[in-house]
């Protein structure tokens, strides 16, 4: 279970990334954030976001129409 959950379902690029970044900023180092999105572009974007910022993409999965990502704040 992630420490926090962020629901960005229905939002399109770049809002899922921007909301996630804002949320991560408010969290402790090494805490985990689960993000729920419906934007298919978010799959590649969260990978790129994590590679660039040094945060860790712990999990990326698809539950029906919803894409779920778990990011650990390591950046």
């Amino acid at each position: 279970m992630a420490d926090e959950v962020l629901d960005v379902k229905g939002l399109n690029c770049p809002l899922p990334i921007l909301r996630a970044k804002k949320k991560l900023n408010s969290m402790e180092q090494n805490a985990t954030l689960e993000i729920l999105a419906t934007d298919p572009g978010a799959v590649a974007d969260f990978e790129a976001f994590c590679r660039t910022t040094g945060n860790t993409l712990v999990e990326s999965r698809e539950d029906g129409d919803v894409f779920a990502f778990v990011i650990q704040r390591t950046g």
Partner: protein, 164 residues
């Protein structure tokens, strides 16, 4: 700015002010800022209108041959002869705003606010201000005024420089 001297940097020259053309610079600037880059946006010519306090952005199909609006399961292109009819611009603007809302795309006002919040460095072109007779108080709070040299100084130090 993130204040990190080692952070990557990006600059964008924003020259266009139509609703659709306002998206790429604001999306890229806010995303780059979220990814830890120090970002500068230089607003010049029609791009400067994107810094006005009150935005009333429009889109036109006139001269935009590639524009196709999704409609009734298909796509509607609009030849120039139709696009030039009075009201055609208002119609496509309304359609575009509807699409933006339906698809969960942020408004330009929202993206602009997010850019300011993320400490994107905003430069308003002084020459454009003079040329089109705008006043500083017509623009939002925050942008510094500057010219080509101000931008070039930023660009020489930037990892990424875009012209949009």
């Amino acid at each position: 700015m993130s204040g990190d001297q080692n952070a990557k940097t990006m600059s964008i020259i924003v020259t266009k002010g139509a609703l659709d053309q306002a998206y790429p610079p604001f999306i890229l600037a806010t995303t780059a800022a979220a990814m830890g880059l120090n970002v500068t946006m230089f607003f010049t010519f029609y791009g400067l209108t994107l810094l006005k306090k009150d935005l009333n952005l429009k889109v036109t199909t006139l001269g935009n041959a590639a524009m196709e609006m999704p409609m009734m399961g298909g796509h509607m292109a609009m030849p120039n002869i139709l696009a030039a009819i009075p009201g055609a611009g208002a119609l496509t603007t309304a359609m575009m705003k509807d699409l933006i809302k339906k698809n969960g795309v942020a408004s330009i006002e929202e993206l602009r606010e997010l850019a300011v919040e993320a400490d994107v460095n905003i430069i308003a072109c002084q020459m454009t201000l003079d040329l089109f007779d705008y006043k500083r108080e017509d623009l939002i709070e925050g942008p510094e005024l500057g010219g080509a040299a101000t931008y070039i100084e930023v660009a020489t130090k930037s990892d990424i420089n875009l012209f949009i």
